[in-house]
């Protein structure tokens, strides 16, 4: 083997087949990345591009033999001018607001409680995280039974304090809260988990400084603990908002969208269009609208997070 003087010394130490050694770096890099790009293309880009394609067609997957007609923006126009769809979005918004508020108030309060050292804390913490591990459809049926207006435990409990029975799942405004409670029951643990992690990440010196500065527990919590945990809590909030926005299983199990279509969320509507009526083209357009909403929401959060992390 010959070696010129200007070659870096590492070149002499290289071993392997000559064909690989002579390959330019850029080619080698490309070769290493290729499998990932291929998998991404098959698993992500293809479905996504076909979704966009379907959204412009008048197409039903139940009639694959019927030649689809290109309708351009037609599906989008139909959807966005449909008054019912807007009601679905309004309902979804109310649901998201209700469940996420419950999750964060309870989750942060519980995480605050878990900061203290008490007997059985670790056991209680594990138990508190369990609801998150249940299958959503199971959670849905569980709560549907508990909210049963005749023999559910919720009505029995409130009858003990003398409150009249409530028709939890038969009226849309009650059902909204019932499902929100079930959803919050499942996902509050997630908030507890992340908030606990955030609180534990605050250095001991800072907590002790606050003590020495004479800050009361409430003052410390609202002026130090919470603001310093904001980046993690914001990420938790984004994840919970997106998930709540897509909530489907609980409504399927608890109300099936009823009465009428009053408790249909956007995601529920989408599944009805896609797999009830099999309007595949329209459903694809709907899916893209939902995607845009979620991406828009995420971008707002990402910008806020960037601003936060520039400061902290």
């Amino acid at each position: 083997m010959t070696m010129s003087m200007d070659e870096p010394p590492m070149a002499a130490a290289r071993s392997g087949r000559k064909s690989f050694r002579t390959l330019p770096d850029a080619w080698l890099c490309g070769l290493f990345i290729a499998p990932t790009v291929l998998i991404l293309a098959l698993m992500v880009f293809y479905p996504f591009l076909s979704l966009i394609r379907y959204s412009s067609l008048n197409f039903s997957m139940m009639r694959p033999n019927v030649m689809p007609v290109n309708v351009g923006w037609g599906n989008y126009v139909d959807l966005l001018t449909d008054k019912d769809i807007w009601q679905r979005f309004v309902f979804t918004g109310k649901f998201v607001l209700a469940t996420v508020s419950i999750q964060f108030v309870l989750g942060i309060a519980a995480a605050y409680g878990f900061q203290r050292d008490f007997k059985g804390r670790d056991f209680l913490f594990t138990v508190a995280l369990m609801p998150m591990m249940f299958c959503p459809i199971v959670v849905g049926f569980l709560w549907r039974y508990m909210f049963n207006s005749d023999w559910g435990i919720v009505n029995w409990l409130i009858s003990l304090v003398g409150v009249a029975k409530v028709d939890w799942l038969g009226k849309s405004e009650n059902a909204l809260w019932a499902v929100a409670i079930a959803d919050a029951w499942t996902w509050t643990p997630f908030v507890i988990l992340l908030a606990t992690a955030a609180f534990r990440g605050i250095p001991r010196d800072i907590r002790e400084s606050a003590q020495i500065d004479g800050a009361s527990p409430a003052f410390t919590f609202f002026r130090v603990t919470l603001p310093m945990s904001l980046p993690i809590i914001t990420i938790a909030l984004l994840l919970r908002l997106i998930d709540a926005f897509k909530q489907f299983d609980l409504f399927l199990a608890m109300t099936a969208g009823g009465p009428a279509s009053e408790t249909e969320t956007a995601a529920y509507s989408l599944s009805k269009i896609a797999f009830g009526y099999f309007h595949t083209g329209e459903a694809s357009a709907f899916a893209i609208i939902l995607l845009v909403v979620i991406i828009g929401l995420s971008m707002v959060f990402v910008r806020y997070l960037t601003r936060l992390s520039n400061r902290i």
Binding site: D205, S209, I212, I312
Partner: protein, 360 residues
């Protein structure tokens, strides 16, 4: 501003005794430095004064009032931690205002107090910056400002300069001492850096294994160490130690009895009476003299040069004498050769027993 009494303070963590019967009075306005190697109990002592650590036994009093069972908030103290403990989501101004707002001080009063501490610490121009972007030195000044803005009885500093770069540390030390004298607050400063301790303190308290080894003005600790540990811990480069043998004819270097050591006869008699047959001689490197002209004799020995380095305007040389090492700090123009003659002035020699206790 207060007098602080620590009486028989003891802290145990399970089997380990971190602080063991610590008793001391800190006078009003005094700058005390707790000095010692890591694990000697200095930080635990400080945390007891702060109330962040409950003592196992013993009592703490501020101006005669017992505070042992009070919470940190009830004690009126200011504290600066080793690593920056400023609230990272707040500006310098909001940080300094924090202890005042936590206590519900009215806003105009807060503004006035911040102005006055900002003047003392010369941080007026960075008040509205977020503290995360500030250099470590500026951050520690903000920490100090936050600690003193409430006019605490006692100011506690837990290695506040260890996060500051070496080149600014010297300057910060000097400023810290100025601030302390200007404000007149009783101050307890913890450090493991003996140079920091010597340059800051009115009184250095040297600790080891939870106990006070020696307490006094920096010069006393340097010139009159209580034991071998105090002698070796303070001073840089550290003190030379030579093992000596007590023979019938007097004292000599253990590994070469022909190298005699001068000591008062009463001291040698005392060593014998204590049943010692070996003692350790200690001498600071800067007090070792080059004496090429002098005749060899007691404390004047031939020495082989091992290594020499010019550090600033000093020549730090290492010699071998009878198989043992002596470091000497000599003027840069000292005429050292492969073989030189060293003189150890008897008036600067200390004697320690094999257990480290000072015997002469």
């Amino acid at each position: 501003m207060a007098t602080v009494d620590l009486e028989n303070l003891t802290v145990r963590f399970g089997e380990v005794t971190a602080v063991n019967g610590f008793t001391m009075t800190l006078h009003q306005g005094e700058f005390i430095v707790l000095l010692g190697p890591s694990g000697c109990g200095k930080t635990t002592t400080l945390r007891c004064i702060a109330g962040l650590q409950q003592s196992t036994s013993g009592e703490i009093r501020f101006d005669g009032k017992p505070v042992t069972r009070l919470t940190p908030a009830e004690r009126n103290i200011g504290m600066v931690f080793q690593f920056v403990s400023l609230y990272p989501h707040l500006t310098a101004r909001q940080n300094i205002a924090f202890p005042l707002r936590a206590r519900g001080v009215p806003r105009p009063e807060i503004a006035a107090k911040i102005d006055s501490v900002a003047k003392v610490f010369m941080i007026g121009d960075i008040l509205d910056q977020y503290v995360v972007g500030l250099p470590p030195g500026a951050r520690q000044k903000v920490s100090l400002a936050r600690a003193v803005v409430r006019e605490p009885d006692v100011l506690l500093l837990d290695e506040p300069l260890s996060g500051v770069e070496e080149q600014y540390r010297e300057e910060m030390r000097w400023e810290l001492r100025q601030f302390q004298k200007e404000l007149g607050i009783t101050t307890v400063h913890v450090t493991h850096d003996q140079r920091e301790a010597m340059s800051l303190a009115d009184r250095v308290v040297l600790m080891r294994d939870g106990k006070i080894v020696q307490s006094g003005p920096p010069a006393t600790l340097f010139d009159n160490p209580a034991d071998r540990f105090a002698a070796s811990f303070i001073g840089s480069p550290s003190m030379n130690f030579l093992t000596l043998k007590i023979a019938a004819g007097g004292l000599g270097v253990a590994s070469d009895q022909s190298l005699g050591v001068s000591a008062p006869q009463e001291a040698i008699d005392r060593f014998r009476a204590q049943g010692l047959n070996e003692v350790i001689l200690g001498i600071r490197p800067h007090l070792v003299e080059l004496a090429n002209e002098a005749p060899i004799g007691q404390n004047v020995w031939p020495a082989q040069l091992v290594d020499a380095v010019l550090v600033g305007r000093n020549l730090q040389a290492e010699f071998a004498v009878g198989g043992q090492t002596i470091k000497a700090e000599l003027p840069s123009d000292a005429a050292i050769g492969p073989t030189s003659v060293l003189r150890l002035p008897p008036e600067h020699c200390f004697f320690f027993g094999p257990d480290g206790s000072r015997v002469g």
